[in-house]
Structures are given as structure tokens and as C-alpha cells.
């Protein structure tokens, strides 16, 4: 419901959104009105204003879903000077349509961008050029009920077999090992990504989302067989197809389920559901194929300059400003995420941030997430296939053959 309503509001907002920007004005369209993200962004804007009193910053904050729709209108009709968007394949349509400004020059010359963003640079790159500056990213992994694990004497699993036997213990005690809500599909992609990254590694995963290997490839089949094992021995909550990721927190909070493959943004929601820091903890998705270099999911949020921007000089100044370690540190402390600048300070008081930083900074490769790594149409069909597989694992062959067909059509 919200997405439809907000889309309409977004369209309207896109139409109304200020057209009267003068030189010296810097218009920024940001996409998250939730309290913490808004506060983090606004603090960065205030710091920029203090450093550049001559620039008049005008901020439009829109709802995330509304922004996704509105951006297609405002980029061509009335471009702001800076807009929030996502890297990876999500930026591809705008880059290819020439609607984002190439800022490779900034990446080459800026003291921070040229040195402290090595890990994230590939995801901001398309056709060998850089198109935006990331301000935040977050780790994925398995969040679990530390109190339940302790009660049944389960250790944080490091390997696949340890995970499976932890599941056996949980099931023997009447607890569903994993919760998930796949109504909006993408949560299932998180599980797939990790299984594939752990079974086949980063290179194969990348090749798959780049359309270079088939879904019926033996290596991908192996991933699905592992998933089948996970479904059999671990099992997920029933009715996950009718739940959103927030709905799926209910069984996690009331102790019916003990683990959740999720991104770090979910921690706030666990706490809202009444769980304390002592009750929840995090571990990296266990290794499956021994000796494989560990790659992680770490989706980034970024800011871009539309090619129709009127004040590109100040926009570049702003992007360079938010790449600074102290700005990235403060911003991500507020929103509880990780700063992409490797020199930025992290919030040591937050155990999830400390573990998350450890997880991603030592990773051999960073995936953006299935729906950002694969083109939109492939992602949409792929995620439907993952959901169908989770409900009907016996249809594996049919689903994979179908995804092959989609792949053939999408990557021409």
C-alpha cells in the first residue's frame, strides 16, 4: 500500500519540486525521511554550510519508494544538483542514458576519493568511469538470538556443518532456525547471494550476475543443492511468502525463530521489537566450500550529480566534502552504518558496527546485492525464482531453466 501511495505522492512531489534555483544554490534531493538517516544527512549539510557559507544549500527529502519513481522524472525535467541513488547495476540505466555526470576527475584528484575508497570503487564504476560518491554501506550476515543460543549451548557456527548441527539442536527444541519474510522477494536474494558466495566464491557469483554463466551451470546447481539442504535441515518460518522483512521480526522477537539472514539496518527494528543488545548478536555467514576466499554483501548508498545539474562546481565541492573521514564517520555513527572511507572513524560502542567493519574490511570481495548486481529484469525474475524454490524445492530444474531463458533475453 505504502509503495503505491508514496509513488503517487512522489510523482506530485517531483512535479512541485522547486524549479527556481539560482547560481550559488545547491539543490540536493535526498531519499530517506526516517529520523536517523535524515539527521545524519542534515548534519553533513550543516557542516558543509559552515565550511562554504557562500553556497545556499536547498534540501528536498523524499520517501525512498517515492524517490525511486520521481528520479526518472526529475533527472530529465528539472534536475537537482545532487541526488541520492544506488551504485552497481541500479545506476546503469541513468549512466547509459547520459543522465549522470562523469566524476572520474574528482575520483582521480580528490585526496580522499583517490586513496581511501579502494574497496568500494569498483561498484561506483561503469565503463571505466566513476559516477557517484558513496556515503554509507552496511554489512550482511546472520543475526541471531544470543540468549537462545546460550540456553541450548550453541556456539556461533563457523562452518556449514556447524550451522546445520546448530539447526538440528534448535529444531529438537521446537525452535524454527531461520525467520524470513519473502513477500517483497529481495530477502530471499540475500540468502541466495551468501550461499553462492560461500559455495562458489566471488568470481563465479559476479560472472553469474553479469550473465556470463548460466543458472543451470553445475556450480550454481551446487548452490541450490546447498540451499535445499538448508531448507531441509534448517528450515525457515512457515508463511514467509506473506510476510515483509519487518513482519518476519515477530517470530524472531518472540523466540519462535533464532536466526535471520539480514543487513545491519535491521538492528534498529529488532530493538524496536523489544530485544536488547544482550539478546541479539551477529556472525558472518559460515563457510561452505573450504578454502574459498570470503566475500561479503555490502550494499552502498551514494550521491550522484545529474548531468542536467545547474551548479556542478558546488556539487563537486559537496561530494568531495562528504568523502572526508570525519564527515563520513559522524554521518554513519548517526545512522548506525559503516563509512566507505577506510580512514573514517567508526562507532566503537556499537558491537554490530565493530563486527561489521571487521567483516567487510577483511573481505576478499564485496557484492552489492543480487538486485543491484544483476540487471533489473533479471533480478526481478531471479528473486521470484528464489521464492518459488524456497516454497517448492522440487521445482529446482524448472526454475533454473526458466532463469536461463530470462538471462538469454536480458543480456543481449
Amino acid at each position: 500500500m505504502t509503495s503505491l501511495k508514496t509513488k503517487i505522492i512522489g510523482l506530485l512531489a517531483g512535479l512541485v519540486m522547486t524549479g527556481s534555483a539560482f547560481a550559488g544554490d545547491l539543490v540536493i534531493n535526498f531519499d530517506d525521511p526516517n529520523p536517523a538517516p535524515k539527521a545524519g544527512f542534515e548534519a553533513a549539510v550543516e557542516a558543509f554550510k559552515a565550511a562554504h557559507p557562500d553556497v545556499n544549500v536547498i534540501v528536498n527529502i523524499n520517501d525512498r519508494e517515492a524517490h525511486k519513481t520521481a528520479i526518472r522524472n526529475f533527472l530529465s525535467a528539472d534536475a537537482p544538483d545532487i541526488t541520492a541513488w544506488y551504485p552497481g547495476n541500479r545506476m546503469a540505466p541513468f549512466v547509459d542514458a547520459g543522465q549522470f555526470e562523469d566524476i572520474s576527475d574528482l575520483w582521480a584528484s580528490d585526496a580522499n576519493l583517490s586513496r581511501n575508497f579502494e574497496a568500494i570503487k569498483p561498484t561506483m564504476t561503469r565503463h571505466g568511469k566513476q559516477w557517484g560518491v558513496p556515503y554509507s554501506y552496511y554489512q550482511w550476515g546472520i543475526y541471531y538470538r544470543a540468549d537462545i543460543f546460550a540456553k541450548h549451548g550453541i556456539e556461533e557456527p563457523k562452518t556449514w556443518n556447524q550451522l546445520l548441527s546448530a539447526c538440528d539442536t534448535l529444531k529438537a527444541n521446537g525452535i524454527t532456525p531461520f525467520t524470513i519474510g519473502t513477500k517483497y522477494l529481495w530477502t530471499a536474494a540475500g540468502v541466495f547471494d551468501y550461499l553462492n558466495l560461500r559455495t562458489n566464491g566471488y568470481e563465479v557469483h559476479n560472472a553469474l550476475t553479469a550473465g556470463e554463466i548460466k543458472y543451470t551451470d553445475d556450480r550454481i546447481m551446487a548452490t541450490f543443492k546447498n540451499w535445499q539442504t538448508m531448507l531441509d535441515r534448517c528450515s525457515f518460518v512457515n508463511n514467509h511468502a506473506t510476510m515483509s522483512w519487518q513482519d518476519a521480526i515477530a517470530p524472531f522477537a518472540n523466540g519462535e525463530a533464532a536466526m535471520y539472514v539480514m543487513g545491519n539496518f535491521s538492528v534498529a527494528a529488532y530493538k524496536d521489537a523489544g530485544l536488547t543488545d544482550a539478546q541479539i548478536d551477529f556472525f558472518q555467514f559460515p563457510s561452505i566450500t573450504p578454502g574459498l576466499a570470503r566475500a561479503e554483501e555490502a550494499p552502498a548508498d551514494a550521491l550522484f550529480i545529474p548531468s542536467g545539474a545547474k551548479n556542478k562546481a558546488d556539487a563537486r565541492k559537496f561530494l568531495s566534502f562528504i568523502a572526508r573521514p570525519e564527515i563520513q564517520g559522524a554521518w554513519n555513527k548517526t545512522i548506525g552504518q559503516l563509512p566507505p572511507n577506510s580512514r573514517a572513524p567508526i562507532n566503537k560502542a556499537d558491537k554490530f558496527i565493530v563486527e561489521g567493519f571487521e567483516t567487510v574490511s577483511t573481505a576478499a570481495g564485496l557484492a552489492q546485492f543480487y538486485d543491484r548486481d544483476a540487471p533489473a529484469e533479471m533480478a526481478s525474475e531471479g528473486m521470484k525464482g528464489f521464492q518459488e524454490f524456497m516454497i517448492n524445492p522440487d521445482r529446482m530444474d524448472r526454475i533454473l531453466q526458466r532463469l536461463d531463458q530470462v538471462q538469454k533475453r536480458v543480456y543481449k
Binding site: T69, S76, Q99, N239, T242, A376, E377, K384, Q387, I391
Partner: protein, 309 residues
């Protein structure tokens, strides 16, 4: 009236009268003009635009690429299209239940007892609230964990079905939710129809010994034909454009099994992972052709009625 035939009239009268007649001819067009303009711009033109766009591969922002019938070839080879089409047919058939159900409720409510206005407004209630709210209410209603369905099943010690999460039940679950307001709509049409049923004919029928079913079948129903026709028209159109319920309750899921053409079109052309404008337009064209069959039939029936009346 034709002023030219009156030879006694002076030239000046002719002129004056002509000036009077001209506005009489223009006036209806003047009044129609705004509606015609909007109809042309927002209905007729987009139909042809959709036809045109359906011949391209286009993401909405980049360059268009001519693919001719490519989108249609792909569509007719797309299992998702057949899932949506099949669901549309199920919608059409089952949604029709709203017509007899609405008639039944209307007959039941067409009595003079104390508090009838209250009962009528209660039955009409689902039509007044937004489809979005209806969808949400039924989503909770069907929830196996905390919904009524779940509670009832658990009371009997059974595992509750996941109606919206099971490809076998999901479409029926949504249609059932959609029937609730649709029955109320048909009921209102019949209630107004029943107001116009002539009491003389009922009297006459009663004198001739008709009662119960025969009275309904041979005296009342024929007089309700205009209401029935209208109820069928709005129900067919409602079934074909079913969208809100699906968007709210399942988003076409699980894995596309509750999709219908209108939502499939939205998903392909406008949703987060869509923006295949050409393909979406091709779906729109097919949906339009299906609707055209019904619409032309309805228009033909109405035209026949006009001719007779």
C-alpha cells in the same frame, strides 16, 4: 423549424433568426468541448500511444529501439502472460457471483422493518471504504498467525492454510476479498431497481396466483433488467481492471502466481524492477482488446435497447 420556407418574413428577420439558430447548433458542442478535449487527450490519444510504444523496446529514459512485433512475440511465449490471463478469467467468472449475491441481499433488505436503514448502510459499508482498506483487512483476516482464519484453524487443532502464500489458493483468496465490496455495489444497483418495480404488476401477478420463485422469475426480474445489465457491466469491468487488491495483498505473488494482466502490465512498465515500457504497452494493448470485446457487446446491447425504447 425552417425560416426559409416562410416567404412573408423580411430579410432582417431571416438574418436575426439565423444568428439565433447558429448558437443553438454550436451550443451542445461548446458544452461537450471540454469533455471531448479531455477524452481525446487522456483516453483516445494514449490508446494510440500505447499501440505505438508497444512496437519499441524502451526503458522510459534512454533511446527507443524499434522491435516491431517483437514484444508481442515475446508476450505470447511468456508463461507469466498465461498465468495472468488464466487468473483474469478466474476473476471474470467468480466475480460474476457478485450479481446474484447482490440481488439476494437487495431482496432481503427490501422490506419495511424497524432499523432497515441501518442494516442497509451496514451492507453498503464495504463499498464506501477504499479498496486498499479492504485489501489490508483481508490480508490480516487471512494471516495464519494472528488472523481469524489462523485462530479458527488453531482452535480445531489444525495447521492453518497460508491462503495468500500458496499458489493454489491465493487468487481465490483475493477474489473473495474483492467480492465483498462488489456485492455491495450490485446490491445498491438492485435496491434502486426494486424501488422502480411497479406495484400494479405485482398486484396483478398476485391475483393470477404467482408467488415466491415464479413471482421473482416472471414479474420482478424482467423489471430489474436495467439494474442487472448495469451490475453485469460494472462487474465485468471491475474484474478486468482488478489491480488494487492484488497490489496490496500480494503484489502478484507468491512468485507471480496471483498476477493479472493489469498488475503484470504495471510490474513490467512501472514497478521498481520494471521500466520495460514497450513490453508493458504490449500487455496494455492485449488487455484493451479483451476489454473491447466486452465493451462493444455492452454498447451493442444498449444500442438495441435504445432502438426499442
Amino acid at each position: 423549424m425552417n425560416p426559409e420556407t416562410n416567404s412573408d418574413q423580411s430579410q432582417s428577420w431571416h438574418r436575426a433568426n439565423r444568428q439565433k439558430i447558429a448558437p443553438q447548433k454550436i451550443a451542445p458542442w461548446l458544452f461537450l468541448a471540454p469533455a471531448l478535449l479531455f477524452f481525446a487527450v487522456y483516453v483516445i490519444l494514449p490508446i494510440f500511444q500505447s499501440l505505438w510504444i508497444s512496437l519499441y523496446a524502451w526503458d522510459g529514459i534512454g533511446a527507443r529501439q524499434w522491435v516491431g512485433s517483437g514484444n508481442y512475440v515475446e508476450l505470447f511465449d511468456d508463461y507469466r502472460f498465461y498465468t495472468a490471463l488464466k487468473n483474469n478469467i478466474i476473476w471474470l467468472v467468480l466475480y460474476m457471483l457478485a450479481v446474484p449475491a447482490g440481488l439476494f441481499v437487495a431482496l432481503f433488505l427490501n422490506q419495511n422493518i424497524w432499523g432497515m436503514r441501518f442494516y442497509k448502510s451496514m451492507f453498503f459499508f464495504p463499498f464506501v471504504i477504499s479498496q486498499v482498506v479492504v485489501g489490508l483487512i483481508f490480508t490480516w483476516f487471512y494471516n495464519p498467525n494472528f488472523g481469524i482464519i489462523g485462530q479458527v484453524w488453531q482452535f480445531f487443532g489444525a495447521t492453518p492454510p497460508s491462503i495468500l502464500g500458496d499458489e493454489r489458493f491465493v487468487t481465490y483468496g483475493i477474489i473473495f476479498a474483492g467480492l465483498w465490496p462488489q456485492i455491495a455495489y450490485c446490491m445498491i444497483l438492485y435496491l434502486t431497481g426494486l424501488n422502480n418495480v411497479s406495484s400494479d404488476q405485482i398486484e396483478a401477478g398476485r391475483l393470477d396466483g404467482a408467488k415466491g420463485w415464479r413471482m421473482l422469475r416472471y414479474v420482478i426480474l424482467p423489471q430489474l433488467w436495467p439494474a442487472t445489465f448495469l451490475a453485469i457491466v460494472v462487474t465485468v469491468i471491475g474484474a478486468l481492471r482488478s489491480f488494487d487488491m492484488i497490489a496490496i495483498m500480494t503484489q502478484g505473488g507468491p512468485y507471480g502466481s496471483s498476477n493479472v494482466l493489469s498488475y503484470f502490465m504495471f510490474e513490467q512498465a512501472l514497478s521498481e524492477y520494471g521500466f520495460r515500457m514497450g513490453y508493458g504497452s504490449a500487455i496494455a494493448v492485449i488487455l484493451f482488446l479483451i476489454m473491447l470485446i466486452f465493451i462493444s457487446y455492452f454498447l451493442w446491447v444498449m444500442y438495441q435497447d435504445e432502438k426499442r425504447g
